[in-house]
């Protein structure tokens, strides 16, 4: 579909098989990231953001989870069918991931240096001293001070912000082509959050790493991303470059999300929030999953499920019948 895409997800479906039956946490997701791009992925809690990218990493807990359908291409290699051994050589090396919980994502029993050098020595045949050099270099790059002391400390001796920087250093140590950051700043306070985002933007520019920034905060997207994908109930409902999305949102859900961003210029304290809740995955059997909460819903929305319709320029796709006409009109 896209020649410059370094990572491409096609029709991905990942389900969890629980006592209540199959839960399709991710259902028919299409996404791609270009080389060196900063892609934002937004959506409310439970919409399948983490599951999508854990699928990319091959880290879905199995059982109960499994990739049921679809393809994931990394530089043309299909990942969903790759043997575990080959997948391991990509994981952490070509595609790295950092997680939401900096406080618990580092092993409490090993020194920072050990955990960093381990990340690089898994993929590259280099001696301990060189690995240590490289670890200190990375710690410096993510803006941590006194790196030669730092590598001998344990995680519990560091603050949350420092730990997340260590996580970023660890993810970047093999110079990956894609970095997946799953809500990297959610657990941090606002000033630290700003610094971490700044850092990731810098790394993206300096090292040309494609970064996928998962977040439920559109403010984060506005600040750092080039392009954005909005997810709802296990599906991508709209993708566009950041400017277009903020200025001309098409999907009613995206509009709702934009309306619920706190705005300092707004005089009133009242904040808009989309009525209703995110449906449980798989609970909506037919029709548009957003229909129960959508102000624009009409007959067809309850009967059929909309597809991802390309907009007037190819990069603005939207999964809504209101924009299905545009497609037929333009053709």
């Amino acid at each position: 579909m896209n020649d410059e895409a370094i990572l491409e997800i096609n029709g991905l479906k990942t389900s969890f098989f629980t006592d209540d039956g199959e839960v399709p946490a991710v259902d028919n997701v299409n996404l791609h990231v270009k080389k060196g791009e900063l892609l934002g992925v937004v959506g409310e809690s439970g919409c399948g953001k983490s599951v999508t990218f854990l699928s990319v990493m091959g880290l879905i807990p199995q059982p109960p989870g499994r990739i049921v359908d679809g393809n994931i291409f990394f530089e043309g290699t299909e990942l969903t069918k790759l043997p575990e051994r080959k997948m391991r050589s990509i994981r952490g090396n070509d595609i790295a991931m950092i997680f939401q919980e900096p406080m618990t994502s580092l092993n409490p029993l090993f020194k920072i240096g050990n955990q960093l050098t381990e990340a690089i020595r898994t993929h590259q045949k280099i001696d301990k001293a060189t690995a240590k050099e490289r670890a200190m270099e990375m710690l410096k790059l993510v803006g941590l001070p006194r790196t030669n002391e730092l590598i001998d400390t344990y995680p519990h001796e560091l603050s949350g912000g420092m730990r997340q920087r260590v996580m970023i250093a660890m993810a970047m140590i093999c110079n990956p082509k894609v970095l997946i950051a799953d809500e990297p700043t959610t657990a941090l306070d606002v000033t630290i959050q700003k610094q971490i985002l700044e850092l990731m933007k810098n790394l993206n520019e300096k090292l040309d790493t494609a970064i996928i920034m998962i977040t439920h905060d559109l403010g984060v997207v506005a600040e750092v991303c080039d392009r954005v994908a909005v997810m709802y109930s296990g599906k991508v409902v709209e993708t566009a470059d950041v400017k277009t999305l903020f200025q001309h949102p098409k999907h009613p859900y995206t509009k709702g999300l934009l309306d619920s961003i706190p705005d300092i210029r707004q005089k009133s304290n009242h904040l808009y929030s989309i009525p209703g809740n995110v449906p449980k995955p798989g609970s909506i059997k037919s029709g548009c999953p957003f229909a129960p909460r959508c102000d624009y819903a009409f007959d067809r929305c309850l009967a059929d499920s909309p597809e991802l319709y390309p907009g007037e320029n190819d990069d603005h796709e939207v999964r809504c019948f209101l924009h299905a006409q545009e497609e037929s009109e333009t053709q």
Binding site: M57, L59, R88, S89, I90, R91, G92, N93, A96, M97, F99, E101, T104, S105, L106, N107, P108, L109, F110, E118, A119, T122, H123, Y154, H156, M167, M170, A171
Partner: protein, 334 residues
């Protein structure tokens, strides 16, 4: 760390005083008169009074206790009534025999238990998991003496693979250095004798290993299941580490602390003398030594035996605590 260790060792002193007081009081708690025991049933009252005076039994309790402590501090554990030998001299071979047996049992228990627990956790809800956990359940609830008898029947009597009792063949002569015969014979390069000793220790070792093994397996499984859900394990896997590395480096080390507690406790229990097992297998250990002393109402031996076992218990506890601190950097040396 060194300061912490020293402090912990100093903290043992009051504990050991308490233990010694308790052990010393035993003589007042159990029925019978030591002087009577020494002299036999037909002794005259005068003779008994004379012996009581010699033993200091006519002194007030606290004087007796302080002279007892004084003796202990000089390494004097008293004299056996039965053998008239210094207990400090005769107890060591028994203790070493028990320690050797315990060591073998715990090595088996830890090796099998930990690995079974890991495999069960990794493949949880698989047939391996089910079978291992059923065996573990049977293991913890099986009377050890019965298991010992069955082992003897199958492996010694029926199959005749291994000797059924004793520490070595009576015809063998072992030049003891440390009283740990397995080590002694290895040092001396006496491999024939080593094999002989090994064949004797396997059955009682396996019998004693059963319960700790089962408990360790269950404990390892449950803590590993817990740890493997942690965020840092996901991080380890996201780095591209292979499963062996994820399990044995990142998971096991985090799961090991509760297991260590169990290992310490069980080691203490085994060292405390597995009297039944030692009797069944004719093992000349501390359990047997104390048991015989109880039969003979050999009070000084009972006292010293219990004191030594209690001391070992306390020391094992200390070692376990120190190991916690060595493994987990979050434990403050305070």
């Amino acid at each position: 760390m060194t300061a912490y260790i020293i402090r912990r060792i100093l903290m043992l002193i009051p504990v050991l005083f308490g233990v010694s007081l308790l052990v010393f009081s035993i003589i007042y708690l159990i029925p019978g008169n030591p002087a009577q025991v020494i002299l036999g049933q037909r002794a005259t009252t005068e003779a008994i009074a004379e012996v009581e005076r010699q033993l200091g039994l006519d002194q007030p309790f606290y004087i007796q206790y302080f002279s007892y402590i004084g003796d202990l501090l000089t390494g004097d554990l008293g004299t056996s009534i039965k053998t008239k030998t210094a207990i400090s001299e005769e107890i060591w071979p028994y203790l070493a025999a028990t320690m050797e047996l315990t060591l073998v049992a715990m090595v088996i228990a830890i090796f099998v238990g930990v690995n079974a627990g890991i495999i069960s956790a990794w493949f949880h809800n698989s047939w391996f998991d089910y079978i291992a956990m059923i065996l573990a359940l049977i293991g913890v609830s099986m009377p050890v003496f019965w298991l010992g008898l069955m082992e003897q029947y199958v492996f010694a009597v029926r199959l005749d693979w291994l000797p059924s009792t004793g520490r070595y063949d009576p015809s063998t002569v072992i030049d003891s250095i440390t009283n740990f015969y397995l080590i002694d014979t290895l040092i001396q390069g006496e491999f024939g004798k080593f094999k002989n000793l090994l064949s004797h220790i396997i059955l009682p070792g396996a019998a004693l290993a059963t319960i700790p093994m089962a408990i360790i397996a269950r404990m390892t499984r449950s803590t590993m299941l817990e740890v493997m859900k942690s965020d840092f394990i996901r991080t380890a896997r996201a780095k591209g580490l292979n499963n062996i590395w994820v399990v044995y480096k990142h998971s096991l080390r985090n799961a090991v602390i509760p297991v260590l507690t169990v290992v310490g406790l069980q080691t203490g229990l085994l060292l405390g003398g597995a009297i039944l097992t030692e009797t069944i297998f004719g093992w000349p250990g501390i359990g047997r030594y104390i048991y015989d002393a109880i039969q003979a109402r050999d009070y000084p031996v009972i006292q010293s035996g219990i004191l030594i076992i209690a001391t070992i218990f306390v020391i094992i506890n200390l070692i376990v605590d120190l190991l916690y601190a060595a493994i987990d950097p979050r434990i403050k040396y305070k």
